[in-house]
Symmetry: C2
Subunit: 456 residues, 2 copies
């Protein structure tokens, strides 16, 4: 073992100099992402790449020696896909963080993978343009990681996920060769769509080293509607009613547990007697009119209170409250954050099943999420110091994922599979489909060195 | 040879009965799609499938005997991807034409691949919903073919291509096994995105036998702007100006040759002195206001005439005129229809290069297309009876495709590669990328029987 690590270290330093290390003290903060209750191995080496050549050199050595490689960007993943594997090279592309080009006429931005989402959004805004994808982590997560997980966010209700905004990619293959996929043109049907195959592949197929993302013209200020309901069921009735009359850019749900937690955390004064709350925002030229129709739809299905504002600051305050849902629940104890999605009409049943799981396993679960997409984040709160509590949390997590499957949903809407959801993949994907995915992986990575055992 | 065909026919009839034939007289109309100047082989057998089991049985036999299979829907393809190969089985799924389910609450439609696009649109409309993708062929082309080519259309300016509207697929693999890809949920990141890998793969990876497509709420009536310009360059300046202030659902270009042809064909009375014309439509709640801004943008960059109407019938008449572009050019002689796309800012140079090609090869070229997407259809008109004319048309076609490549564009925006564009694939896709695509194909189709030599 020592010999392999020594040889690996020597080979990496030979081609990468000080960018490579095998010193355990320098690798400590690169072994895990932000997922909880996931396993992580002990890496053999760390490479902090700053160029495509660095990535290619790393992959060439890894391929030659058949060493597994775990690629990571900002390390904000929530499923453990960037956790180290025993004996692996951790390949950090966080240092590849240049915005290479913003083409205002073509409305594209070409970036290195370590660029922070919020930094790209800011650079686009400075040119009157808009980088749309807005995962909750946007202030700290990188475009490479957003692409590797096909990150979602709040905007998806109207504007889709990260993969809906990618034009072209440059990636380094397992053997160090470089490929370019996609095109700068809006339409392109030449050959197989490798771009969208790489998106969401969690570092299992290739290492994304450059991305050309599409930008939009910034929309007008949003109009915000906040509506409270006696029950989550009524709130979902409103979601369907809203979807029939408008296309909000946000359509977010918080359940009673989450409302209480956010109130305690932010002193926002939300209605704690409510069973659920919807936060709706409409943008674009008809924002005011659309929002009025959303408010009317909420009232029609029996909202107990509907609040409506064109004031951007007031709207931002509500969005900020919604973004506080996870920190507010985290303040109540240790949390195990789930991420499932079901068809929107199945949301009432999904919410019931989440409450059943909370009762069965004697845990508190606060649920919030992207109601327009049927994408919920049931957040299991427990006392890590209490005997058996972690097992009960796991039991509830398990019940929730199985309920999503039974309701024709998915085991992950936007966080990815990684380590956390790997046990559910055989229930999610049929055996023929899984075999096929693994054959596709083998076509990209014949020695199975790119994040083996993850994502598929 | 005769023995193989006899054995094939016997095996197919054994499992498929009357749905299989080896009678050349019955296969005649199934050997070509609607592409011009493409080669087609002589098939050994034809299967007219009416169920998933029929497709699976056909593939099982084909796999066992290593016989190539060319799948076809309505046969309206424009690149020859559905042309027969010598000795192949032509597998027609045109008879699988049932709309299986329209789920109004979840806003999805599940269909068999032979369903005609326009029939699905009509069925959705009957429930107050909208199936968006609108290729020019929508009255005659099938959803399976639309998916196999990732068909575009006029709506793509705002609503994207066919692949942007697919949720889940069922497909039969080369060896007859059935897979399901994607999910009914709006978001799903479990495993590799096989759905978008199948979209646009031109029958090379699997046979799509069922598709769940997303529907939208129908928009309000559209407002139409028609603007004429001295030159194509000015028109493209207007396209960029329009894109900065609005998001039209149509932004179509016709050049001078096309305007003349349409005028002669339809007696619409378009301004024949113009160098180019834009047809712009805005939909949604702010259609009127957006269209006014589009009109102002056209005027600002120097349109010679701008016409503006909220009357749906008048708007439809202009859209109909635009849809007559190809038939009008076809009325002038034999046509060779091209399909290239470039980044929008490169359109003026692309249009220049098209005129250069017309002059160099002494042919007439009428160009129309989807300006917002940079997707043009230069249509080469020639007299098939004239000695050397076909070669000159081919020469112009060749120049146009190479010009698109030089301008950072693509050899096909929406028609596909098939036979027609296969010679340009090595210039479009790098050798490593092509090798990778072929490895991915081998993962799906190890015996290389699904439309071999096409699409990649």
């Amino acid at each position: 073992m020592t010999t392999t690590v020594d040889m690996l270290g020597a080979r990496l330093r030979e081609v990468l100099g000080e960018k490579a290390t095998t010193d355990p003290d320098r690798m400590g903060s690169y072994t895990r992402d932000q997922s909880l209750l996931t396993t992580a191995g002990v890496p053999a080496a760390l490479v902090k790449a700053t160029s495509v050549d660095d990535v290619a050199a790393t992959m060439t050595v890894a391929h030659e020696l058949s060493i597994p490689v775990v690629t990571r960007g900002a390390g904000t993943g929530l499923a453990g896909a960037a956790n180290a594997l025993d004996g692996c090279i951790v390949l950090s592309v966080a240092g590849m963080n240049r915005i290479l080009d913003i083409d205002a006429a073509a409305r594209t931005a070409t970036v290195e993978p370590g660029v922070i989402n919020g930094d790209l959004a800011e650079a686009a805004r400075a040119q009157g343009l808009w980088y749309v994808p807005d995962p909750g982590s946007r202030a700290i997560s990188s475009i490479g990681g957003n692409l590797a997980t096909n990150a979602g966010g709040i905007c998806c209700a109207k504007y889709g996920v990260t993969g809906d905004h990618v034009a072209a990619l440059t990636a380094v293959l397992a053997d160090g060769r470089v490929i370019r996929t996609g095109a700068k043109t809006r339409k392109n049907v030449a050959g197989l769509d490798l771009t969208h195959l790489l998106v969401g592949s969690e570092g299992t197929l290739a290492v994304i080293v450059e991305a050309t993302m599409r930008l939009r013209t910034a929309p007008t200020a949003a109009t915000t509607v906040v509506a409270f309901f006696d029950s989550a069921e009524k709130a979902i009735e409103a979601v369907l009613a809203v979807a029939a009359v408008a296309e909000p850019c946000q359509l977010e749900l918080m359940d009673a547990v989450t409302i209480d937690a956010v109130n305690r955390f932010t002193r926002m004064g939300l209605d704690e007697s409510a069973g659920a709350m919807l936060l709706i925002q409409c943008d674009g030229r008809s924002a005011v009119q659309e929002a009025a129709d959303c408010a009317a739809a909420c009232t029609r299905v029996g909202a107990t209170e509907v609040f409506h504002t064109d004031d951007p600051e007031e709207g931002d305050a509500f969005t900020a409250a919604r973004r506080m849902a996870l920190p507010a629940l985290e303040a109540m104890g240790t949390v195990l954050l789930d991420d499932v999605a079901v068809p929107v009409p199945a949301l009432p049943r999904m919410l019931e099943r989440i409450q059943d799981a909370a009762e069965r396993h004697s845990v508190t679960i606060g649920t919030f999420g992207h109601a327009a997409d049927g994408n919920l984040h049931p957040t299991i709160v427990f006392d890590a110091g209490e005997l058996g509590a972690q097992d009960r949390a796991r039991g509830a997590f398990d019940d929730i994922v199985h309920a999503a499957l039974e309701l024709d949903g998915t085991i992950s809407g936007e966080h990815g599979i990684g380590v956390l959801k790997a046990p559910y993949m055989s229930d999610m994907i049929g055996s023929v489909e899984r075999e096929l995915m693994l054959s596709v992986k083998a076509a990209f990575d014949p020695r199975n060195i790119l994040n083996p055992g993850r994502g598929i």
